[in-house]
């Protein structure tokens, strides 16, 4: 109500209704009871002006004005205001959204750039790692090949030594076998007796 008072220039609507009613009643009274001479003159001239009814009509308008104001103008103004506020709010939100979008876009572009840099760095790292792995595998393969070669040489050498050793042992066995056979064929009682005497004379008996 106080808003309405402000919007209607501070005059209370009830005052306006009362004033309008008084004016309307006064006008009707004038129209019914009082004969105004210049009205008759105007009527004769073809202008049917009834001052009392005009005043009553003005009173009716004064009564209707706050009603119209209350039920039509104020809601309309409020609706316009609301719409304006809403539009301002919408524009504000749109502006906020736009700035937010801009910030998001810049953040996204920044993140994209970071991601690209990171990806580039990772790719470079992977390339370096792959190169290191390749070098390591190559060196390992070379080392293993060298080791296999060395082992093969060692095995050949060991096998050769083994064969030579077996050959020597075989020669020893054959020689000693032949010696044993010769000794057996040439042994007789006299030689055996000499051997036993030598043993008795030379043996060192642990006490």
């Amino acid at each position: 109500m106080s808003n309405q008072e402000k919007k209607t220039g501070g005059v209370h609507w009830l005052v306006l209704v009362i004033i309008g009613a008084i004016i309307m009643v006064a006008g009707m009274y004038v129209a019914v009871n009082i004969k105004i001479p210049f009205q008759e003159g105007l009527a004769k001239q073809g202008i049917p002006l009834d001052l009392g009814r005009t005043i009553a009509t003005i009173g009716v308008f004064i009564i209707l004005f706050p009603v119209i104001k209350s039920f039509f103008l104020v809601p309309l103004a409020e609706a316009i205001n609301n719409r304006t506020t809403e539009l301002e709010k919408t524009f504000s939100e749109a502006e906020e959204l736009r700035s937010e979008m801009k910030s998001m876009q810049s953040a996204y572009e920044k993140r994209l750039a970071e991601t690209e840099a990171d990806a580039r760095e990772k790719i470079q790292g992977q390339i370096k790692e792959a190169q290191a792995l390749r070098q390591r595998l190559e060196s390992e393969a070379v080392g293993r090949a060298d080791e296999l070669l060395k082992r093969a040489h060692d095995e050949i050498s060991a096998e050769r030594n083994k064969v030579v050793t077996e050959l020597r042992l075989e020669v020893v066995n054959l020689t000693l076998g032949a010696t044993e056979k010769l000794l057996g064929e040439n042994m007789d009682t006299d030689k055996n007796r000499r051997l036993i005497n030598d043993f008795v004379n030379k043996v060192e008996v642990p006490s």
Partner: protein
């Protein structure tokens, strides 16, 4: 399951009992008895099988021993044999004999030597070998002589943990060991 400690205990008990006997020849008699029983165990498969078989009852083994040895061995030997059978120690007889002989030699301050030669030694050669050993060890010698043609020539004497090898076979073996050692060292 053979147990040397058990055989040693039986042998020591038997030896000390024989030694305490009034008969001076009891030790030798018991050793001869044990030697005969061991010889029968080694050479007679039927006797060995019956004596050492776990299926043969203790009474059957005792009866067999009584039948075979009651009038052939001393009562002390027979008692010891019966005791070993009763205690299921008949598989220790051979080791009891060995330990008994070792204890007897120890008591008599004798060394048991095995003299092996490619031919039978003459009495003179045997005496020379024994004399050499007795003078070196300061103990009496009890010798067992064996002939092994594989020795080719010379003689080999074994006693306690020693082997004195004067045979050609031993010389050849030493030469072979020496050559093999050198060859293996070079390789």
């Amino acid at each position: 399951m053979h147990d040397v400690r058990v055989a040693k205990r039986y042998a020591r008990a038997l030896f000390e009992t024989a030694l305490d006997s009034k008969d001076d020849k009891m030790v030798a008699a018991v050793e001869d008895d044990l030697g005969g029983i061991v010889s029968l165990l080694v050479n007679n498969l039927q006797f060995r099988t019956r004596m050492l078989s776990p299926q043969e009852s203790r009474d059957a083994k005792l009866g067999l021993v009584d039948r075979l040895f009651s009038d052939r061995v001393t009562s002390l030997t027979l008692q010891a044999l019966r005791l070993m059978i009763e205690k299921n120690r008949e598989d220790e007889i051979e080791w009891v004999h060995r330990e008994f002989a070792r204890l007897r030699r120890e008591h008599e301050n004798k060394i048991f030597v095995v003299v092996t030669s490619s031919e039978n030694l003459t009495g003179e050669q045997q005496n020379a070998v024994i004399h050499k050993l007795e003078s070196a060890t300061g103990k009496k010698i009890e010798a067992e002589y064996k002939v092994d043609p594989q020795l080719i020539g010379g003689v080999r004497v074994a006693y306690d943990n020693y082997v004195l090898d004067g045979s050609l076979r031993g010389d050849l073996r030493k030469l072979r060991d020496h050559l093999m050692h050198d060859i293996l060292k070079q390789s």
